[in-house]
Symmetry: C2
Subunit: 448 residues, 2 copies
Amino acid sequence: VFAPRSENAMTIQPSADTSIYVDLKAARDAGQALAGAPANVRDEILRDLAHRLADPQKQREVLAANARDLALAQEMLFNGELTQSKLDRLRLDESKLNALCEGLRQLSSLEDPIGRRRVHRELDQGLILEQRVTPLGLIAVVFESRPDALVQITSLCLRTGNAVALKGGREAAATNACLHEIVGETLDHFGLDRRLVLLLRDRNEVQDLLKHDDLVELVVARGSSSFVEAIRAASKIPVVGHAAGICHLYLHADADPALSARVVVDAKCSYPAACNAVETILWHADAIAAMQRSIEELRKRGVRVRGCTATRAVFPDLEIASEEDWSCEYGDLIVSVLRVDSLDEAMKHIAHYGSRHTESIICQDRFAAEEFLAKVDAACVFHNASTRFSDGYRFGLGAEVGVSTEKLHARGPVGIEGLCTYRWILHGEGQCTADYGVGRKAFTHRDL
Amino acid sequence: VFAPRSENAMTIQPSADTSIYVDLKAARDAGQALAGAPANVRDEILRDLAHRLADPQKQREVLAANARDLALAQEMLFNGELTQSKLDRLRLDESKLNALCEGLRQLSSLEDPIGRRRVHRELDQGLILEQRVTPLGLIAVVFESRPDALVQITSLCLRTGNAVALKGGREAAATNACLHEIVGETLDHFGLDRRLVLLLRDRNEVQDLLKHDDLVELVVARGSSSFVEAIRAASKIPVVGHAAGICHLYLHADADPALSARVVVDAKCSYPAACNAVETILWHADAIAAMQRSIEELRKRGVRVRGCTATRAVFPDLEIASEEDWSCEYGDLIVSVLRVDSLDEAMKHIAHYGSRHTESIICQDRFAAEEFLAKVDAACVFHNASTRFSDGYRFGLGAEVGVSTEKLHARGPVGIEGLCTYRWILHGEGQCTADYGVGRKAFTHRDL
């Protein structure tokens, strides 16, 4: 067990008078203590948290807190302050809690990333270069209503030796506080400062935090594109945006109707509020049967379908899809449908309207699939699979802090790798650069 | 040889009237053509460029252009518009050109990164996940007076299937134009659009480019911290900053005097204008002999030394180091010297004043070295080696577009890896996410 650090073993005492600086500094220091501990300590912390979260008494407490949040959310829904899809995401149950425990155990058994050597190279005799993985430091994550995200994000930060400052949605305040208390009990048990995992109370604290580019290494912003942009504009800290998911399914000329309908239904209906849900279905003129079957199955499930002129020639009672529909993330049981004349036209539409999140082609033709997979510029490109597979757990990453639509650093589901950086370490014997060059010593550059 | 694309085989026709959009779009398209070509085409392009650049006639042309730049630079130096260190960086010679050819050949023989599979995982039977390396797309690089950077940056972009828009210092305009013309000849030879490698003419074009976050994926900004901040503030495009290098050498208690002096001299004198040159020497009270010998050797080479009170007690005629000196990147034959009481104090000074670039400890004590290497948060941390080893070529990366002082994406010398991203590719048979979960199908998550 990790040795208790008595000077830090105090609980967080937030005060409205003082700036957030003291807490952030304490979080960063606690992160360094966690990162400096042996790998098996981080394994044990994750298992301990899983154990506490699996406890029936604890689960009752969490679900009671969640019920309080849901009751308030119902009022907010009634007053128009909250959408149905946000309310749906707020709800926890025993099965979701058990899935979180399972994720924690999966993470605890993954190889510890800290200190992993990615490069080991002799530059010359007695001059050895290493590239080693290290934690980022202190990370801030601003996320929406889904409270299971608190546990997933925390667990990834613990696995990677990072401290974290969390800001959840206010509609999930009671649930998040209860889950955060359980995390605190685990940190107490290992003698770690509870401030390793901070829970921010309001937007003012987030604004304060965004000023501290001296302490915070990364902000993960989950929300709408405009929300991510606002965070980016307010801070010098690098931001990884988990933003809009305008995902497409393209039914190519030879798309199998039954397979198409099954995948379309999963991509839209299994969780319409998720960022990896499909928003627009593109169909090749020859895939009319696949399109028909898909729309029929969607309508059976209460999905509102908006069609282009060609689609409405087949289903005249569909709503009309306007230009705005092609760039809309409904987050709801609504889908737009557009006929395209070719694979190329489908890819052009995706390049123009897509958000580089997840794009999928349904076809049997291997060549068409390969072309789509090679040319579409998105974090995730799929063949004959639902867009909803874009997910850290499903990809085998254990969990995710979000799905990045950036191209730099981390792309797609962000797991362990996205929360780490590296350092170059050089071991020498007094070597000087002026001794190397044309007519002087040569580098060996030999990988060890 | 790569098939000529006749519709693109025109030279750049810049017009002051039109926006830069057309050129950037053409660059991006040409980048896609390059990325889509087989790996051996990119090998051949690099070898062809090396061949042209090794041609004596071409070298005479480059050096003649460089002489014109140097003549103007001398005038600018005289008028106070240019510093001596910028003038020094501007100068090319045959040996530098041959080193560029050698770098190009080294890059041509490195494994092609495009399409490399980093993850290959079965999620379930018939559901196969891959993570594959892809180019970023169109990259912009704004760099200072050193014209060899043009060839190094271009070669890395060609290796990685990226298009690039370059903006060099105006004092290197003739040299850069000449080198750019040679690159253009290589692109012509392979039937690629010359606009694959754009050379921007002035700051207005840079300002225009910074607006095009729809076309440009990354800006590499090389220059002062304030310059990097200005670029960042002017654009939504992600910026990788090659900024201040406030590097330290710490002479620990048992530092060998001869070894210390040798490394100190190399770290300061071999190229004082480089970002990896040392700016401050820290010495432990017990390392007084190492400090003395180092200062003596520096002064023999005309280095101006600024000391703290304790240092000046040994060398009373030193200039006084003030608070500003500890955060100053001299870029010149000037160094500041500070006594510290312990390894811990040295690390605290580095954490406070360092720019996370390169930090080196000189000592024999293995434990002190390990503590320094484990705890100092910088891109490069060295033991018994000159800070000037922080360099893409010396690290065996072939070349570098810069040295990143960021923690995200790429850290330290940025070579091939920093110019690439990846995509997640999923091959399925119609799988749906709703079929997986507790009581339903389980993922296999088996690495292949």
